[in-house]
Amino acid sequence: MKQKITFKLNNEERLVEVDPAWTLLYVLREVLELTGTKEGCGYGECGACTVIIDGQSVNSCLYPILEVEGRTVTTIEGLREASGELHPLQQAFVNEGAVQCGFCTAGMIMSAKALIDQNAKPTEADIKESIAGNLCRCTGYVQIIDAIKTVAGGRRT
């Protein structure tokens, strides 16, 4: 039995008909065709599916869709400024070599954004903690951490 839910997605009100057994990740990718959020494992162990719900970073592959009712969801597609300019985090990732194959990138950026929105001056430990659930196999994390540091004001490139 499909149900209708409403929620705010990337600053827009959405009304979607969903099967209760769907996860938020499934709805984003397959129903809403927002494929920027990736499925890396499906079990909440890699963070590639990270999105922001009500200001908190969560694994969308584990998030039951009915739980999304009435909430505010932000995905990677919702980060750019209205002018089309990249969000500072996105620009920093580009500038500092934080993107190699790019599969983990959306999840990383969302985790970093959730951190910076809550804590304008995170320490390096805070930054590592914020992406502790986002696995990357290409970069060794160093340039990712540097990119987040740049946006957090702790570092000049």
Binding site: T23, N59, L62, Y63, E67, G133
Partner: protein, 332 residues
């Protein structure tokens, strides 16, 4: 990878939830944060007829300080526990446990109730259907054999929850409600010690809160866990300790609890006798840690070998006791 079909229930109040549980019994699976249940659904380890989301039950929110105790609602998220100054100051082991669970997104979604009520784990059990198909049906799956221990007559799955050992160190109690009845039992008694059926919660009962008695005087606590990586990993051995001095300056209360060392978190019952009535020294802590070692199980069913994990229980038990001591002014 897709979830099996189910009916979705969202009770708005506890009485509503309890009525639903009465009606559905074991056909309903309770979900709060979903971090464990969704995984088990995807692995087809469970196939309930309905999922009951209890996130809307406001009665299950909040960390409330009362006169003699702290009451933590079952729906309090692990992140809320991490951020609580009260826990950091007065219930340090509990705060430390919450900081070491999994990874940040899971801590945001996960609740203390869910973490306590997690099922036991084993490399031979927590697999998907594809892998399990090729293996004999073990005790935990309703069969008659153990895949981790040849000829094992019982289930050796491991309880890997981080919150329970720390809470038990503080002698926490849990409140279980069902239609028409409410019982409060020591949290440690929630665990049966049986890998096949690790929790003694009935299928129409709801865990609504945790009561942590206040500790007075000079005391310290800590939670230590063995993991391979700095994040994500469940504990492969863990220990929580609470030490409190009496009015005469000797140790009056000591609670040493070990986790990831068998199907249930265990209180090291012999520890108080070894430690109380004096200011214990490292040799006394070592003796208590030895008891922890004797009590623990180490079977080859997790990421590191069982005998190593058993040895680490001894190390972490001792370190937990030493860690609890550091906060007690005037002791060391």
């Amino acid at each position: 990878m897709r979830l099996p079909p189910f009916e979705y229930l969202e009770p708005a109040t506890v009485p509503e939830a309890l009525a639903m549980l009465d009606a559905y019994r074991d056909k309903a699976q309770i979900i709060a944060g979903g971090t464990e249940v969704i995984n088990r659904l995807k692995l087809r380890l469970i196939s309930p007829d309905c999922i009951m989301n209890i996130k809307k039950l406001r009665e299950l929110d909040g960390i409330v300080e009362q006169e003699q105790s702290l009451v933590i609602g079952a729906n309090v998220s692990l992140k809320e526990l991490q951020d609580s100054p009260l826990l950091r100051d007065k219930y340090k082991a509990i705060a430390e446990a919450s900081l070491q669970v999994a990874a940040p997104p899971l801590a945001r979604m996960g609740t203390i109730g869910g973490n306590i009520l997690q099922n036991t784990r084993c490399l031979f059990y927590n697999q998907s259907a594809i892998v399990l198909k090729g293996l004999e049906v073990c005790h935990k799956r309703g069969g008659t054999t153990c895949l981790a221990v040849k000829g094992g007559k019982r289930c050796f799955s491991v309880y890997q929850g981080d919150m329970a050992p720390a809470l038990i160190a503080f002698d926490a109690q849990c409140v279980l409600e069902k239609n028409g009845a409410r019982r409060t039992i020591p949290l440690v008694d929630l665990f049966t010690g049986m890998g096949t059926h690790p929790l003694s919660i009935e299928n129409n009962e709801l865990l609504t809160g945790i009561i942590v008695p206040k500790q007075n005087g000079a005391y310290g606590s800590t939670y230590r866990k063995l993991r391979v990586r700095g994040s994500i990993d469940y504990p492969l051995a863990s220990a929580a300790a609470l030490l409190a001095l009496g009015a005469d300056g000797t140790l009056a209360v000591s609670r040493l609890v070990i986790g990831a060392s068998g199907p249930a978190p265990r209180i090291v019952a012999g520890a108080p006798a070894a430690l109380s009535g004096k200011l214990p020294e490292d040799a006394d802590f070592a003796a208590a840690a030895e008891m922890a070692y004797e009590l623990s199980e180490g079977v080859d069913n997790l990421a590191l070998p069982g005998d190593y994990r058993k040895k680490m229980v001894r190390v972490f038990a001792r370190r937990a006791l030493q860690g609890a001591r550091t906060d007690i002014k005037g002791w060391m």
